[in-house]
């Protein structure tokens, strides 16, 4: 258990905190999916993707909130919920060229909901999707909206690796929660992000809820900060490189740098993850 090499008196942990965190880590090993989270924390402790002081503070918060009888995932949610500013996009900054373009993939309904604020919320998205396909609705319509939300990381990949179909895109990017709808790519240069790209961390992987399983921490001991990688849902192996960044406001000065691309419809449910394969291949 690698977390044990980090959770030590030398790193500022008390004997009580060490005992609680040892129990918490053991409780995370009760099924395959939980073991992935356990391994993610182990790897986080062995790498340099996150400042050690941030990781230490997080684990101390977990120790303060965990009792053996509680759900080991609940405490992660509680700590993140109660300390959003401290743990929002906590990874170290990546040395990414500012002219590199990244892409974020969202569902058409979320695009309309969060970015097309002049439009009503329709029961049927058909006409909106048609408008995206034929260029009636474009990136400039997003002025006044916010790319992502301040309390959650925004996950992006390099823009030059977009697959051709929506199903493949969903699978390669590990977007396990998407079973329906149409996918849209938002493509923009890194320089639009206020603090650049950051290494994805286990805390980012848990940011929307701790049982969001499909995050697999990069495994090279001692490395970082580095890009992470998605989990390819079709193969349960590493997908494409990914990073995170903070939200930013889309305004008249930067919207010209953003492009929207209709990728296509999702035609089938996301494949099930083979956790055994994942654990051995990533």
């Amino acid at each position: 258990m690698s977390i044990g090499t980090f959770v030590t008196p030398a790193n500022g942990f008390s004997s009580r905190e060490i005992a609680v965190l040892t129990q918490w880590c053991a409780d995370l090993g009760s099924d395959d999916a939980l073991k992935l989270i356990q391994r993610n924390f182990d790897r986080e402790c062995l790498r340099k993707d996150i400042p050690s002081v941030t990781l230490r503070d997080f684990l101390r918060d977990v120790a303060a909130g965990y009792s053996g009888s509680s759900d080991p995932l609940d405490v992660i949610d509680q700590v993140l919920r109660n300390n959003r500013p401290a743990y929002a996009v906590p990874g170290s900054r990546l040395a990414a060229a500012s002219n590199l373009n990244v892409s974020r993939v969202v569902r058409a309904d979320q695009l309309l909901k969060h970015h097309f604020l002049k439009l009503p919320v329709p029961t049927n998205l058909k006409n909106f999707v048609s408008g995206l396909q034929n260029g009636t609705f474009v990136a400039s319509d997003m002025v006044g909206s916010q790319m992502g939300r301040a309390d959650l990381p925004i996950w992006v990949c390099r823009a030059d690796i977009l697959p051709t179909t929506a199903d493949t895109c969903r699978d390669e990017r590990g977007l396990k929660h998407i079973d329906r709808g149409h996918l849209i790519e938002l493509n923009y240069p890194v320089r639009l992000t206020p603090k650049g790209l950051h290494a994805p961390t286990t805390l980012d992987g848990c940011a929307n809820s701790a049982d969001n399983w499909i995050f697999a921490k990069r495994g090279v001991t001692g490395g970082g900060p580095d890009w992470g990688h998605t989990v390819n849902l079709a193969t349960s192996k590493p997908g494409v490189d990914e990073a995170v960044h903070n939200s930013f406001t889309i305004d008249a000065s930067n919207v010209g740098k953003i492009t929207l691309k209709y990728i296509g419809p999702i035609t089938c449910s996301a494949p099930s993850i083979d956790f055994t394969n994942l654990q051995s291949s990533i």
């Binding site: 099924d31 395959d32 999916a33 939980l34 759900d71 995932l73 609940d74 949610d77 969202v106 309904d109 979320q110 909901k113 969060h114 604020l117 002049k118 439009l119 009503p120 919320v121 329709p122 029961t123 049927n124 006409n127 909106f128 408008g131 009636t136 319509d141 909206s145 916010q146 992502g148 939300r149 301040a150 309390d151 959650l152 996950w155 977007l175 396990k176 929660h177 998407i178 079973d179 329906r180 709808g181 929307n208 809820s209 701790a210 049982d211 969001n212 399983w213 499909i214 406001t249 449910s269 996301a270 099930s272 993850i273």
Partner: protein, 223 residues
Amino acid sequence: MISERDTEKIFHELSQLKDSDLEREVRARLLRRRSTLLFGWGRDEDPCDVFVDAFEGRNGDWPLLLRVCASLALEWGKSVESVAFPEGVGELHYLCARIGALDARPGIADTIVRVDFRGVLLPSGEGVQLRALRSLAGLLAISRAEEFARYIGLYEEALTTPQHLPISLVTLLAFRPRRRDMYVERAQKYWPAHVEALLPTLDRDVEFLKSLMRPTELETSSS
């Protein structure tokens, strides 16, 4: 807790729930509370997504979800506590619009006029009342034409708020096209620069709302 997400199984289990159980699940999900039935959230997943998807998976044949959502909208429209959970309120209004919960209209309207919701933002930066205006406009598009008369005052009043002006003008022009000049003039009086920026896409957005209009039949089925 279902550790591996099995969407079809979840949809099926949700559809089997009785009134109070479904209400409990919807409420918990929108308020980001864990439940015994539903999985956690995916990366960019919003609280209401699972219900929108499940509703579409049933081809819109889920009257109980319509009732539950409308009932929650009425409750949260009146409840003073609801201002403490804006994300839940915004998600609920969006959900009501996406599934066509027409009976939610009065509850959504209550949120639009509440003073304590003024300036309250969703995590995405959008105002709760803007989300309500957008959601209500979508519901009115599938309502009987005369329903708009009940809510026209909300949209006329919203012209005075710059953030609400675009959706209000679009809605007013879609439902009252003969008064176009009057409404545009009125909006220009309040916020001339905003209207100027809006004009290039105004007709397109009005046409979009008009294209959604599919009145009467849903009104009967959900009431």
